[in-house]
Symmetry: C2
Subunit: 362 residues, 2 copies
């Protein structure tokens, strides 16, 4: 029986257990990596592929890389991006060569955003935002997909290795733009290995697993190139404030974007689904149903770093000493601090964006 | 009633008439352009799209371009390529800026030929061969698709403008490699207009019309870019020596490649389908059935430049004064001369390939 380590429960375990079985993922446990980060310690990171080779690289200080992409389709990011960046920062701190690519070609092919517009958005918002979330600007290498001829050339070769039916099975949607976007992404995740074959890890949400599977399949079909199939690490979605599995901009009242006005965010938190009981008397007597509580989930996933502090809140809330109103107030204060800190850092990094390590291609 | 001008008949008129109706092509007549070339004068060139604007550019000496691509999938070309080059040379002589691109990315995506191998084949064979067939080396601009970032970027934007269903309707095959190849081709045919909007003409065989249609559709969907939809001009296939509609390497005994050993070619010509009668007596009395005669078709399409000379042969052969054996002998001699001349020029141009006008991309 597969068990996902989630000390606080999330009410969503079933879906993730199913995904692990269906996609053949490895279950993640916090003892796999040294000094696990918040998401790793708390069951937010729940699975991966080929994690042992990454653990070995960390332990033996061997070269490996961590990579993620920026899709410059709009000028906001969400809490899911935040966890990706925090995982990247974790591997960066533990020795990974760290790459962030701007998927401007993908944004053009799949969403119709012009390259100029994609570049502008990435420089003026996404890259500073990623740094504001914890990447080390001195240790992170950036590039624009549209400038990386090697990745593009690889995409054309990789396209020949995938049939339309496979594509459709993996993505459902097999529109021409989607196809070009996906094969280019395969080039990107392997790019650090073009120069030096080494393991690499891609932190993603579960919905990105199709890309990972396809990239791993292509590697197997290009045996002569001797790439390491990329490893991946999966985190749970930040649930929507109304309790559904994933926060989504399609339901703005239940979604928190970065950046977003703290006052507006606090209003949303006040309306969020909690595990509080119908009456105060009942709540005091039975305590909160933690699995249903989206506000506790916010604290756990995003707002409280210290485990002891989170444990105290867990204890007080589940025993009814703390009310839903109080936990909402706490979440509002923490979120306001976070949002203010984020926007301050965002402005700071906007000013140094031209000094970052962008790969110059000849 | 559509009538294709073909003074000698070819036995294949029906198929081409049908294509004109189905695809909505313009019927080509030799009076459309000044000093029509052999293929234009003899009904081999039979149709086009937007030909008037090209005729106007020629007449008024306004800028326009002619463009074709080299697909470096093997190291032979065929008689169909020869007519493409002759048509290109015609427009070059009448003022067209002339572009030849090496479709190395397409060869990788659709056929799995590596970029290095594609480049080698193009430089060592295809480019010298195209020059040997009549292009002016000083007036022709070459580039490699894989180096042309602007074309590639355009391909990613164009992909978003086409649905999978449209793709399937146009090509039948909608494999990922095929899709990448096709959208890149759209970038190529428009590339000369990236700098300067002007009409352009693409000489192609009928089987290439899907590419042209798709490129024209994409132009219509990118109205703001103000491209001229490309014009096209179609030539009939050189029929297989056994009488079927198109020479094909799948039937090597009925196919003539460039280059090919003249002795082997003469053997194939001797076995070709002719319109000669069953007995000499009958032949003298009735003359050859010219519509069936693949050897006369070779003379008409490829081997005899002078119209008076071709008319004399037509006259003698259709009245029975000339036999099938004699016309085969004549074709063999002409083909041997052509093949020797071609290989001599091929060797000559191989030596100067590094001095040609290749676009250098930054």
């Amino acid at each position: 029986m597969i068990k996902i380590i989630d000390p606080y429960g999330s009410g969503l375990v079933g879906d993730y257990t199913k995904a692990i079985k269906e996609f053949g993922l490895e279950v993640f446990t916090p003892d796999m990596f040294p000094e696990p980060n918040r998401a790793m310690r708390r069951g937010v990171v729940f699975a991966g592929r080929d994690l042992k080779i990454i653990a070995k690289c960390i332990k033996e200080k061997k070269p490996f890389y961590a990579l993620s992409g920026i899709m410059p389709t709009n000028e906001q990011i969400h809490l899911g991006n935040k966890i990706v960046v925090e995982n990247l920062a974790y591997f960066q701190k533990h020795g990974a060569k760290t790459f962030i690519l701007v998927a401007d070609l993908e944004a053009a092919a799949a969403r119709g955003v012009s390259l100029e517009e994609g570049r502008r958005r990435a420089l003026e918002f996404h890259i500073p935002a990623y740094l504001a979330l914890g990447l080390d600007p001195k240790k992170t290498t950036f590039y624009f997909q549209s400038e990386n001829k090697k990745v593009i050339h690889f995409a054309y070769e990789a396209a020949k290795k995938i049939t339309l039916n496979e594509f459709r099975a993996v993505y459902g949607n097999a529109e021409p733009g989607r196809i070009m976007s996906a094969v280019t992404q395969i080039g990107d995740v392997l790019y650090p290995q073009f120069e030096e074959r080494m393991p690499g890890i891609i932190p993603v949400g579960l919905d990105q697993d199709p890309h990972i599977r396809l990239a791993r399949d292509v590697v197997k079909r290009m045996k002569t190139k001797k790439f390491f199939a990329v490893s991946s690490i999966y985190h749970k979605y930040t649930p929507s404030l109304d309790g559904s599995i994933k926060m989504s901009k399609s339901k703005p009242e239940s979604c928190i974007s970065l950046p977003e006005d703290p006052v507006a965010v606090c209003n949303k938190i006040r309306k969020a689904l909690t595990g509080g009981r119908d009456t105060l008397e009942e709540h005091r007597r039975l305590g909160a149903v933690i699995e249903k509580d989206m506000v506790f989930e916010l604290l756990k996933q995003h707002l409280i770093e210290d485990d002891d502090e989170l444990n105290r809140i867990y204890e007080e809330y589940t025993t009814g000493r703390m009310t839903s109103g109080e936990i909402k107030q706490l979440a509002c204060e923490k979120m306001t601090n976070f949002m203010n800190d984020f926007t301050t850092k965002l402005e700071k990094y906007k000013k140094i964006v031209d000094k970052l390590n962008f790969i110059k291609f000849s």
